[in-house]
């Protein structure tokens, strides 16, 4: 069976960007043309019916998120649409491919989404290191403005939408949507208290929707081809395809657009080519650094939001990091917690203090100086930094790989303490 690949089917094999002529020839901007003939509410309804869930990691239903935006004549303006292109979850490399390969697809998706919530201004919040994405998006934004797909009176519809690129200056916390809004306002990127939710009071205090790149790239396809088509792309109840990636010591690391709900085993073995010679599979992070490990017993899990959660983890970004038998699981978790301790924004004490402490213990295990009580402290930290004890979702995400590693790789942790060294060195 050849599966449809609406997001990546049009990408050029040479890695260059699809230009506007080629994009239009492949049916590009037809979704926007159709959208502009519909009522904004109709588009939100189509997106709701499509069962599209946010592709940035949290998996919130997109259409439902939009339905919280105030609409009608009394709604505050300007309203904002922000694309979260701050791809910085370790192990994640999917949005880069979409922006570099097909920048107009993102622009069209944003124009349609903006029309649905009647946004006036949009920003693409792009991480600073994505220089190629910045160059290609800047070029494509100019092309789109020249052809009347952005700006005043889009395609003669009377609808106005200005879209700008904002290049950020680093820090993982900017991926948290309210921290991102503070960064866009030129402030330190601390998360904000919720409520109020950004849909009501977001950027500069106005109604704002923040969506991930991959999410937005789906919108025009849903409008052009309908929610039934979109749901039929998936193997499960969540609509659409998903960009799945695999990195680590597999034979063919890479990225593939597959039906949502593709089984984990198929992704690992057929697409990524299985483990390299001489290595055994020990586990993986299914959706980036802040997701719980899955292990052998989970290989038949269909990779959608519901089933991965049932297996004890989260689909997250859908880009997986594989742990092999010659890589130390404690070292791997140390690397992850080193990242989180460094990237904590410093706003709430459990996070900045607890993660630094956690990292220190893991490093002492690697260096052979850990004591048995340290294992209890690590277990305590996974609760102390859990949901409800911190200001935002950063620290609870940070301890997900730790709590699952303590469960699945307990013997490896104990060996580090008992032998007073890292057995992999």
């Amino acid at each position: 069976m050849t599966s449809e690949r609406p997001l990546t089917g049009n990408l050029r094999p040479d890695g260059q960007a699809v230009d506007i002529a080629a994009y239009e020839q492949a049916g590009g901007y037809q979704g926007l043309r159709k959208a502009l003939t519909l009522q904004p509410q109709d588009i939100t309804d189509l997106v709701k019916q499509s069962n599209l869930r946010g592709r940035g990691g949290a998996g919130f239903p997109t259409g439902i998120k939009w339905s919280f935006v105030p609409m009608g004549d009394d709604a505050p303006h300007p309203k904002y649409l922000v694309c979260n292109a701050d791809e910085m979850e370790p192990g994640t490399f999917k949005d880069r491919v979409l922006m570099e390969g097909d920048p107009h697809q993102l622009i069209e998706g944003m124009a349609v989404a903006a029309y649905a919530i009647q946004a006036d201004i949009g920003y693409i919040f792009l991480r600073g290191e994505y220089r190629t994405s910045a160059q290609r998006l800047t070029f494509a934004l100019n092309e789109a403005r020249e052809r009347g797909y952005l700006g005043q009176n889009i395609l003669g519809s009377g609808y106005n939408f200005e879209l700008h690129l904002h290049v950020s200056a680093g820090r993982y916390i900017c991926g948290e949507e309210t921290a991102l809004l503070n960064a866009l306002e030129g402030k330190r990127a601390h998360p904000r208290t919720k409520p109020p939710f950004p849909q009501v009071s977001g950027l500069f205090g106005k109604p704002t929707i923040v969506q991930n790149v991959e999410t937005l790239c789906n919108i025009q396809h849903i409008v052009a081809k309908g929610p039934d088509w979109f749901r039929s792309l998936s193997l499960t109840e969540d609509g659409g395809t998903k960009l799945y990636g695999v990195s680590g010591k597999v034979n063919r690391p890479g990225l593939w657009e597959l039906p949502l709900g593709t089984p984990l085993r198929e992704i690992l073995e057929e697409h990524a080519g299985g483990m390299r010679d001489g290595l055994e599979f020990r586990g993986l992070l299914p959706g980036g650094a802040s997701t719980d490990f899955l292990v052998e017993e989970h290989l038949d899990t269909p990779m959608d939001y519901t089933q991965v959660q049932k297996a004890g983890s989260r689909l997250g970004t859908g880009t997986m990091v594989v742990l092999d038998s010659k890589t130390c699981p404690v070292g791997m978790v140390w690397n992850l917690e080193h990242f989180f301790a460094q990237e904590s924004c410093g706003w709430c004490t459990p996070c900045w203090s607890g993660l630094a402490w956690t990292e220190k213990i893991l490093l002492s295990m690697e260096n052979g100086t850990a004591v048995p009580q340290d294992l209890d402290t690590l277990r305590f930290q996974t609760k102390f930094l859990g949901i409800g004890n911190t200001f935002c979702a950063f620290a609870p995400g940070a301890v997900e790989p730790l709590q699952s590693a303590l469960k699945y790789f307990a013997a490896d942790f104990e060996r580090h303490v008992d032998e007073k060294r890292c057995p992999w060195r």
Binding site: R188, L285, F339
Partner: protein, 154 residues
């Protein structure tokens, strides 16, 4: 003093936002692109240009790791140390770069040619290990490739 060119570029950004503070990160990145880093004097100049206090602006500057508050070499190498690159051997990449260039991580070469800095995931995990030099991403690194790449940056 901000140059006329820097002021023009900052003014262009101001057209896209409803208030001046919103462009302060863009403004610092503009100055950095021209001068390599953001000095105390530049912080004062940008703050004055945007009607912010220098303390507020420095508070923003020091939050973001891509805003450099110290001078850097002619080339900046960002060495990814996040999980996929760690599994694929980023420690060896770091050690080789430090040894070849004779500079520690976080430091610069004596001749001002290179600054070496750690960076979080560069989003090239399927081609790990990866580094970024100036605006260029380099992937699938091994010892030989690193030596060839360094030759391109004199």
């Amino acid at each position: 003093m901000l140059t006329a060119e820097e002021q023009n570029e900052i003014n262009h950004e101001l057209e896209h936002y409803p208030n001046k503070q919103a462009v302060c990160i863009d403004a610092m990145l503009i100055v950095q692109r021209h001068r390599g880093w953001v000095s105390d004097e530049s912080i004062r100049d940008i703050a004055e240009f945007l009607g912010m206090s220098t303390a507020d602006l420095d508070g923003v500057a020091t939050f973001y790791n891509l805003i450099r508050r110290k001078p850097v070499g002619r080339h900046v190498a960002l060495i990814c140390d996040s999980i996929s690159c760690w599994i694929m051997g980023c420690d060896r990449v770091r050690d080789q770069l430090c040894a070849r260039l004779g500079a520690p991580l976080g430091g610069s070469t004596a001749d001002g040619r290179f600054t070496l800095l750690p960076i979080v995931c560069l989003g090239a995990c399927d081609r790990a290990p990866a580094i970024m030099i100036d605006d260029d991403l380099h992937t699938d690194l091994d010892e030989q490739r690193i030596d060839q790449i360094l030759e391109q940056y004199r």
